[in-house]
Amino acid sequence: MRNLYLFFLKYIDHFIFIIFVFFSFSLLFQNDNSNIHIIRGKFSDKFSLISSPLAWIRSMTRLEKETENLRLKNIQLTLKMQSMLNENDKYKSLLELLQFKEDSNLELLAAKVVNSGSSANLSSITLDIGSNDGIRVGQAVLVPEGVIGKTIIVGKKSSVVQIMNDINYRLSVRVLPSGTAGILNYLKDDIFEVRELQKNSNISIGDKVVTSGFSQIYPINLPVGEVVEVINERGSFQKVAKIRILSNLGGLLHVFIVINIL
């Protein structure tokens, strides 16, 4: 017995090692044991009590970073929302164009503006359709608000449109309801002047201006603009009316070309 005790004392480290390794393995293999869960649960409660102040400090240190991330996310979402709103506007505009085409008694061909030139003064635009699509020189170009110009150069796949604010552009128009005819030319911004109006004609501010139909290019009664000022010079035999056009020449994306009158 004494020898056994001495043997145990001599190799106590090995025995302890075997016992502890065995015990560790038994713990590992009893991970799902309910008693182990209860013990771990109780210790977890105690340790969570100790670690909670640290967790609070940690959360505070992370708060700043999280706020920064949220700000970034907010900006991203705002931009996304803005983009969606823009898409919505585009959708509405296209819907309007579609409606205009359906309601019109003209045979129209839709075109996309692919280039507005690089000069400071916008005077022509390039469209993505050309002679292959049936386009010819001298065809009227419209948007739902009214006339904007005419085709002057036609390629196979593209065409150039002279728009109304070109200094050389002229358009025969009629002021309604008086029916007085005149010649429209560009003045400044969105203001145009109609010259050669009869001196005795009755023209008032707010009168509608439409195409006269005298031209072979523009069909009759296409909307152009409305009168904003009437100049009646004493020594002149004519009246001059300043008009504001209805279409926005600076923001053209899609236009229609009049192919035929139905």
């Binding site: 480290d13 302890i16 015990f23 560790s24 393995f25 590992l28 182990i36 013990i39 977890s44 670690s51």
Partner: protein, 160 residues
């Protein structure tokens, strides 16, 4: 150094592990301060006390955490303490490079056990990823270990 001092140091190391390990975590790899402490403790006081300290600290470590493998830390630390215990007082009897290789292998084995149990699936599916993870875990703890080396070299602990 009496036993009370060692208990305080052990508590300090455990608390350091408990509180600091999250701040020092890099891509889910954490340093293991307990293995450093057990390593020095076993080198200074031998196998028997080393094993007892290793098992106790390992058990406490597992109880404080929420790991799936309850009993893994006591097992790995006990094996570590047992093997390191063999190196107590051996620095002058072994060639230095043998001595240093041995303790490095012991630490590698410790991290192998931990990594193998925790990442058995990676071991089976991608052995290379397993090796990388094992060496990363080992390397990260070794960084702290080498800093401690400057103040308390292993060879001095062995002959103390």
């Amino acid at each position: 150094m009496n036993i009370t001092n060692h208990i305080f140091i052990a508590i300090f190391v455990f608390l350091a592990q408990f509180f600091l390990v999250d701040f020092l975590s890099i891509k889910m790899i954490r340093p293991d301060f307990l293995v450093i402490y057990i390593f020095y403790f076993s080198l200074l006081y031998g196998r028997t006390l080393g094993i007892i300290a290793a098992f106790s600290l390992g058990l406490l470590s597992d109880l404080s955490g929420v790991g799936s493998f309850f009993g893994l830390a006591p097992l790995a630390l006990t094996i570590n303490a047992y093997l390191v215990g063999f190196l107590k007082g051996k620095y002058e009897r072994l060639l230095p490079y043998v001595f240093h290789s041995l303790w490095l292998i012991i630490l590698l084995l410790h991290f192998f056990i931990i990594t193998y149990v925790n990442h058995q699936l990676i071991f089976v599916t991608s052995f290379f990823d397993f090796i990388i993870r094992w060496l990363m875990t080992f390397g990260y703890t070794m960084m702290f270990f080498l800093v401690i080396q400057f103040f308390f070299p292993v060879k001095e602990a062995s002959i103390a």
